[in-house]
Symmetry: C2
Subunit: 382 residues, 2 copies
């Protein structure tokens, strides 16, 4: 085990109907004015907004609201929320939706207590150290955002998709009710599975040191995702599978998988972020294209790890067979595995490589994300 710090103060309230108690949870922290953030008006039509609003008002909590968050959430919406929160003197932000809503909520919470431009936090000009309290009711399992402090936002003006991470941007309480996640389409379920896989494999297939205990821990997550996705595609109402899928998603990116490892990277997320910023493909769909293509590049650097993955997850013997098996599984569940399937034009490769290389230089990672590497990965995805 390499040295590490582990800290995750988020409280998870998991189970049926727990969204109806959100007002009680929030009032336990003495908070009185909440900005509710959501996406489309689906949450109004299906009653979720009303359930939550009722619980808040029963606990004497005043409500402001901000709808219209889109997937691959944008900076302009964050600015809008910050204005609202400042004007209303909100003391908490409650995200009602999926990852994009919670990303937006976290960025609003950080920006609302900062005098400068919140984008400073995304471009390393400033470090966020405080924020309004953050709460969430998750309607989609994939990002792990409910139990981590990441927020990913796209700056429409610069077309940059960047992230922040601060000790202040952990949700205080997140509600995970698998029933609320049962209405996701089959398509998005597959994208979610691909997202969880990417969170896990970005670490598992890059760490230069991976303790056996953590390897087993991540493999248990991956097996759970495969098993439960297969069940849910046939039986969307299966609560047990939905619940395990949700909890595996949370655990795939709540920092437990990073304990004691060395030198992990976020290759596929880094590459995909530019793809979805340019072409607005769903993040998970972008990842199911990038991951196998990237694996063909990466397998040469950690051959034993790739063999282990192949054996443990798909019971096949070689790195290539493991990659094929993953690709086949993505196809089976309906996630795209080529640029063409994702409607990404091959002519865009050069431009994406250039953009990514600029970003890599900004992070001082241009040796790692060389143009050769990036081009090879995209070519593997043709």
């Amino acid at each position: 085990m390499k040295d590490f710090s582990y800290y995750n103060p988020t409280r998870i309230e998991f189970g049926k109907g727990k969204e109806a108690k959100i007002g009680q949870y929030i009032s336990e922290y003495g908070l009185k004015k909440v900005l509710i953030v959501y996406g489309s008006d689906r949450v109004k039509k299906n009653g979720l907004f009303d359930t939550v609003a009722k619980s808040l008002s029963e606990n004497d909590i005043a409500i402001e609201e901000l709808g219209g968050v889109i997937s691959n959430p944008v900076l302009s919406k964050v600015y809008e929320g910050i204005e609202l929160a400042k004007a209303a003197k909100s003391d908490a932000v409650l995200g009602l939706g999926g990852a994009s809503v919670l990303d937006t909520s976290k960025a609003i919470a950080a920006g609302a207590v900062y005098d400068g431009d919140v984008w400073d936090f995304f471009t390393f000009k400033a470090q966020s150290t405080s924020a309004l309290k953050i709460f969430s009711v998750m309607t989609l399992a994939a990002s792990g955002s409910e139990m981590n402090n990441y927020a990913v936002v796209t700056n429409e003006a610069t077309r940059q998709k960047m992230s922040i991470r601060s000790t202040a941007t952990f949700p205080t309480v997140s509600v995970v009710n698998p029933e609320l996640q049962a209405t996701v389409t089959k398509e998005y379920l597959a994208y979610s599975a691909a997202d969880i896989f990417a969170h896990s494999l970005d670490m598992y297939l890059t760490a230069t040191y991976l303790p056996e205990y953590i390897a087993g821990y991540v493999e248990n997550i991956l097996r759970t995702v495969i098993r439960t996705t297969n069940v849910l595609l046939d039986d969307a109402g299966n609560y047990e599978a939905r619940g395990e899928f949700a909890w595996a998603a949370t655990n795939a990116l709540n920092f437990t998988t990073f304990s004691g490892i060395e030198n992990n990277r976020f290759d596929t997320h880094f590459i995909e972020h530019t793809m979805s910023a340019e072409y607005n493909i769903a993040h998970g769909a972008g990842l199911s294209i990038v991951v196998p293509a990237w694996m063909r590049w990466q397998k040469n650097f950690l051959p034993e790890r790739f063999k282990r993955f192949a054996k443990e997850i798909f019971d096949v013997d070689s790195a290539d067979e493991g990659i094929d098996a993953l690709k086949n599984w993505y196809t089976k569940i309906g996630a795209p595995v080529t640029l063409k399937e994702g409607k990404i034009p091959e002519e865009g490769i050069e431009m994406m490589v250039e953009k990514l290389f600029v970003g890599a230089k900004m992070m001082g990672a241009d040796a790692l994300y060389s143009k050769e590497m990036l081009t090879t990965v995209f070519n593997n995805a043709k």
Copy 2:
């Protein structure tokens, strides 16, 4: 997945030499007066106390100290610590040692802010809701106490071994440096392994509902404990194995294993506590005797679970073969598996059954822990 709440705010600082930064960690929380709790003067002789004291004084933190905590820690020592902490107006308690030291530290921290008798918390007369801040530097991996809010203390007067659990008794920061744990004797390493197994099996073999994801999670802990114990018995200085053993121990009782399960119990801990309160046997040694004996009783209630355990952990086919394999492994690593090996007189069985049954009645669990059940378990351990 059944409904659950998960909350664990403890920050873990894991790695070599991190005890030398404890003053820095504590000062991050603005604390100024620390009561250091420890056991024998071994921590003074081996330099650990000085390392920690130096770090505290460099951070302008005043020190009081309380040594002499014994294993199966006693209430009189807790009272002593409470007096000291109150007199010195301590704002934090730092445990320097193993589980007993941290149990004592937690009880002192809870008692120091309470006007009544701290034993009230152990006997359900009062609920602890606040405490001094708790820190730890762990010299033994076994209890998981570094990342949970349990404290177990024996009342010498009544010979009761009881526990508390409060939201206030989570350590704020725990240092886990595997090197500090490398001097444990082979005997105590085996007892520690048995303790971790018992934490895991008490849940895994009693929960009436166990999600597949959690089953896999716990099996990964158990396999890690077997693998690393076997390595360490031959090679005590193996840092990687020592580190994985430590982290598996932490994860076995930090509430992650309880997520989404139903109706778990602490049978073997309940039974063993009386055994060690009466005969002062090491807790882990008591558990290696009780666990297989209890499994012979329990296997009839969850036969499929026991078959799974046998297959997944020891690659054998039946419940009985699984129990035999565990018993053989305990013997191989030097942990006792019979009352005789633990120097517990068979004549004591009746008295222990009576005591346990009184405790069971107090908890309203006398139907579960019937005299027949308790007697059978002890007889199985002959």
